[in-house]
């Protein structure tokens, strides 16, 4: 058994190597969550719109992305977006685009289930009040769907946070990368990988504990 040496975990070193990565991981998670939920809701509405064309487009988007590994999508965006724009974009920006596009597919399935869980009576009530389709969605259906689905949406966001580590494939500077650089610079990779695992675990475990509490609270209301 080798001797562990955790002396690399000083405040100074963590701040200079790890904090940048942590900030990017959180930033990536939050942007992809907001963007993914917006785009995902749109996709869910398209699938439930009753228009054959919109339905097929949304279906191809969602099923297509869900049958491919995230790493593959990361590589695709990193290859294609610079080709389309005609100029290189940064790894970090590429990652943000990828995760928004990719997570939208998963969020849309959650939102679709949420919208379908609202009883037909609510839709009819909205229509009876003379609301247009958009108003009905905005004021009646989506707020309830969103509330019902909040725990699932948040759980998906925890998964998203874990998945941000996959930007490793293009070498973007995230939390894992920060620990890795620290470990390589000081020849202590064993300790820093362990440190990364502990940090991810603590963040994800506490977040999922929070979601569980929230779930209980919401369950009573319904």
């Amino acid at each position: 058994m080798s001797n562990f040496d955790f002396s690399v975990f000083t405040f100074e070193l963590l701040r200079s190597f790890v904090s940048t990565g942590l900030i990017f991981s959180v930033e990536l998670t939050l942007i992809a969550m907001v963007g993914g939920i917006l785009l995902g809701t749109l996709l869910a509405l398209m699938r439930l719109s009753g228009s054959r064309l919109l339905e097929i487009v949304a279906r191809i988007y969602v099923d297509g992305l869900r049958s491919v590994p995230l790493v593959m999508v990361i590589l695709w965006v990193y290859l294609l977006v610079p080709l389309l724009l005609g100029r290189p974009i940064g790894k970090e920006l590429s990652a943000i685009i990828t995760f928004t596009i990719f997570e939208a597919a998963y969020y849309s399935e959650i939102m679709r289930a949420g919208i379908q869980s609202i009883s037909r009576g609510q839709v009819y009530a909205g229509q009876a009040m003379g609301l247009t389709y958009a108003q009905n969605m905005h004021y009646v259906i989506l707020p309830q769907a969103f509330r019902n689905m909040l725990p699932v949406l948040l759980t998906q966001t925890i998964v998203l946070f874990q998945d941000t580590s996959l930007v490793y494939a293009i070498g973007a500077y995230d939390l894992l990368h920060g620990f890795e650089v620290l470990g390589k610079n000081y020849g202590r990779t064993v300790e820093t990988y362990l440190g990364a695992a502990v940090v991810y675990f603590v963040i994800c475990f506490s977040l999922s504990a929070l979601v569980k509490r929230l779930q209980k609270k919401i369950a009573i209301v319904r």
Binding site: M1, V68, P69, A169, L194, A196
Partner: protein, 236 residues
């Protein structure tokens, strides 16, 4: 934009006496090999842990729950690095293991926590009377699980197990990080060498879609074979 397709790139020599097409096919084989072996581990360990979480014994339940929380709350890629860098430093004989074995264990244990969650849910979805009926017949706890509970629980959770089996193929892609020559590593290296990224990526993406579809059909076949008349969509 005038883009010129160049599918002949697949027939080019990689420099080691094989074409890129042959390399991609062997990479597909590695992807399938990692996923299949990891699935065996995930299924066996996951079933065991899932059962532990439902037995009437607080200590065993705690072990089962701790297992699931541990493997569910650390990203797969980080778990892979733990297997690759940290565990061999703790248990020195593991240093001689090839990285293929480590990837299989990492992916298998990661997925086991998800399988365990499904198995637990399946068992708990059964009416409590099933367990009581088992003990009323004089079966031991182990026998009740073997002959009464598990045969029904597995049938109930076949659909979520199908998506886990499809996930494991997608998740096997992290193996590129420890230089297993699977599809993603092939995609990255072939893209670099040939500069025909779009053709290469399309090929790899297609193989992933085909693999996922094949698993889906295979599980649907199993589902139709083990269907019990009168239960979960069975009968007719």
């Amino acid at each position: 934009m005038a883009f010129q397709w160049d599918w002949q790139v697949y027939l080019n020599d990689t420099g080691s006496g094989q074409t890129y097409l042959q390399w991609m096919m062997s990479a597909w084989g590695w992807t399938i090999a990692v996923a299949t072996l990891a699935w065996f581990i995930a299924f066996i360990v996951g079933s065991l842990i899932g059962v532990l979480r439902t037995v009437p014994h607080k200590g065993l339940q705690f072990i089962g729950n701790a297992w699931v929380e541990l493997f569910r709350n650390i990203p797969l890629l980080v778990q892979l690095f733990l297997w690759y860098h940290v565990i061999p430093a703790l248990i020195t004989p593991m240093k001689s293991l090839p990285s293929f074995v480590l990837v299989v264990f990492a992916l298998g244990f990661f997925t086991s926590s998800r399988v365990a969650e499904q198995v637990r849910a399946g068992i708990q979805s059964l009416p409590r009377g099933q367990m009581m009926a088992g003990s009323a017949m004089g079966l031991t706890l182990a026998q009740t699980y073997r002959y009464v509970i598990l045969p029904m629980a597995y049938r109930i959770i076949l659909p979520p197990l199908t998506s886990e089996a499809m996930n494991i193929i997608k998740n096997s892609s992290v193996a590129f990080a420890v230089s297993i020559s699977e599809l993603i590593l092939f995609a990255m290296q072939a893209q670099e060498e040939t500069s025909r990224g779009i053709e290469i990526y399309l090929g790899v993406t297609g193989l992933y879609v085909i693999s996922a579809f094949a698993v889906n059909r295979l599980m649907a076949f199993i589902e139709s074979r083990v269907r019990v008349p009168g239960y979960v969509g069975g009968g007719r």
